[in-house]
Symmetry: C2
Subunit: 367 residues, 2 copies
């Protein structure tokens, strides 16, 4: 069983521990995205020792296409394949099918699509997505959902949410019919949808809560809607989701987003922002953001990570050197993990809101 | 002063120690190439701790163009700029001007060229190349030479060699007129040229030896000539170069090339092969070479570096993941440093030729 201990609350903000067979996760937590079985440009030992990552993500869509299920099964799962022995969460592949794949067609049965790699034709269904995640061996599996476009009208949003709910039932059925393949427990998290419609979000949260899941996810946010709408949806949903289970806000977001969502009772986050922005030379720090390509850093010989200076990092990114991508990725992930660690500390200390108010102006500053 | 202690010889093979102000270098040694102030895809601490690099290269051409002399001077040299406190050798920029730059024109004065980055026009002369290397602060500076094409006829080869000798005199003059900028000693190594003509190589080696340099380099080899011709040229040259100074064979080569050249009295090597081939998924190991892209490695779950398996590395390189480039680069550099370390050990043990004969068949094997 995946279990969740709530250590402290501060308003709606929560500090807890998720227990998995691959170890504990102290929440709130940020999960670095390891799309194809690797957090881009970062070694596994750097994730553990430099960044303090407690859990990483894998993308079912990518892993299914490459290396593929045969190889992952022969490797006895992703943990063994990529030598990451801490917890892993996999998404359901739904989001990537909608954002990356070609010729996708959504039907009641599931979703057909063509691979963005070689154009080959595939079908994801709630059932086979459960089976794929069994093969990957993630500690936390996600239900197969449709992530409707952010600007969907109410009619489409409702239709899509209802499909997601029917798919959830099929996911749960297949999940219960199958066993973990490698001897460790796997949890299934359903996903709340409903776009930016409060009534739909409530219906969806109630539906998800009624399944008594080991944890709950909130999907379909940060897809273009105003930030305040996202926060409002989180509040609506978290008022309904069970308090004794971890809550995962999918694909979010900026450091500010994390702190606001933590204040509203979210426990888990993932986002490509620290790594993707890092590879573009955008650094997150406790004092603000740095565009390392700016000429102002050219002669700033202050160290930013190990003995590497801002001037050196400016040079590396300007020269498109791989080491620049490596260093920026580590810096940003370290910062994200530091931020959620600080959030946890202040929830436990009981001064989360004051701390958040004090750090927010810094986070938005451009250095 | 850069000094050189010869610890042992085994036939013509030599085991020694080069003493520099940034530390000792045990020879024979391979020097990873850090073109633009970074060994591509490898952290400095990995060079030190995982790879055992004792000295790295910087390319004057690249560093001059980016970050440029102003910034390097403000950083107080490349060691401080890239946080590498062990020895650094810089080439003279000549080779890159001839291989990378556009619109190059060789004149008695020097060489004009256009930057491969932005097309800007520049002039390298023996004098300013000394000044640039003073600013970079390399422990070992190289004389400015013309690296003539491998298929040059005797007439051109002689003309080019004589120009290189005149340039050497100008290099030495400017070198002697200038001081190190950062308080550590810098040595100047002249370069033997002469293409594949024994008579020219002899003349050039004698000219270089007459300058009583702190170390000598052999340039213009491994540029397309048969391997046996290269070995023959090394023998001709090393019979003349001073025995009490280190000898550096520039830009060479395969593991087999290294062992043959060591047997013929070479002490120092550099080559992009381990890093460049590594980024293409070609691995060097003591049992032979591996093309990690081959399907045969797809399900080979043997670890190759840390806990990373061949199957995982196959996946990373196939998926064009940055981590794959990082791991392959480390594996190959580790192997090159291991190989020269073993060579040193066997020179000291007195069984170099036998060891070389035993390992050579492995090195040529494709796994």
């Amino acid at each position: 069983m995946l279990t969740f201990d709530l250590n402290a609350t501060c308003g709606d903000a929560r500090a807890g521990v998720i227990h998995t067979d691959h170890g504990d996760i102290q929440t709130p937590i940020f999960m670095p995205v390891g799309t194809a079985g690797t957090v881009k440009a970062v070694h596994q030992h750097e994730l553990r020792e430099e960044i303090g990552a407690q859990i990483i993500l894998g993308n079912t869509y990518h892993l299914y296409l490459r290396p593929g299920c045969d190889i992952l099964r022969q490797a006895r799962g992703l943990h063994k394949f990529n030598a990451w022995e801490r917890p892993i969460l996999t998404d359901s592949g739904g989001f990537q099918v909608f954002s990356l794949a070609e010729n996708r067609k959504i039907k009641e049965e599931g979703c057909t699509f063509r691979s963005h790699i070689d154009g080959s034709k595939h079908l994801f269904t709630p059932e086979n997505v459960m089976e794929i995640q069994r093969i990957i061996g993630a500690d936390i599996m996600m239900a197969f959902d449709e992530c409707a476009p952010g600007d969907s009208d109410h009619r489409y949003a409702q239709k899509s949410m209802e499909l997601t709910h029917r798919w959830l039932d099929r996911c749960i059925k297949r999940f219960n019919e199958t066993e973990p393949l490698y001897g460790h427990h796997q949890a299934l998290f359903p996903i709340v949808q409903g776009c930016q419609y409060e009534d739909l979000r409530k219906i969806s949260a109630e539906y998800i809560a009624s399944k008594e899941p080991e944890g709950c996810a909130i999907g379909g946010l940060a897809v273009g809607e105003p930030t305040e709408v996202m926060y409002q949806m989180i509040e609506v949903v978290n008022a309904i989701l069970p308090k004794d289970r971890p809550r995962y806000l999918m694909g979010v977001g900026t450091p500010q987003n994390l702190l606001e969502a933590i204040e509203r009772g979210v426990d888990m986050f993932d986002c490509v922002m620290p790594t993707r922005n890092g590879r573009n030379g955008l650094l997150f720090t406790a004092e603000g953001t740095i565009n390392i390509k700016n000429k102002k850093w050219e002669t700033c010989f202050e160290p930013i990570y190990k003995d590497y200076t801002l001037a050196y990092l400016h040079h590396l990114i300007r020269a498109e050197e791989i080491l620049g991508l490596q260093i920026c990725s580590i810096i940003n992930l370290r910062f994200y993990l530091w931020l959620v660690g600080e959030a946890r500390r202040h929830i436990i200390a009981g001064d989360y809101a004051a701390w958040k108010a004090s750090i927010l102006p810094n986070l938005g500053r451009r250095l």
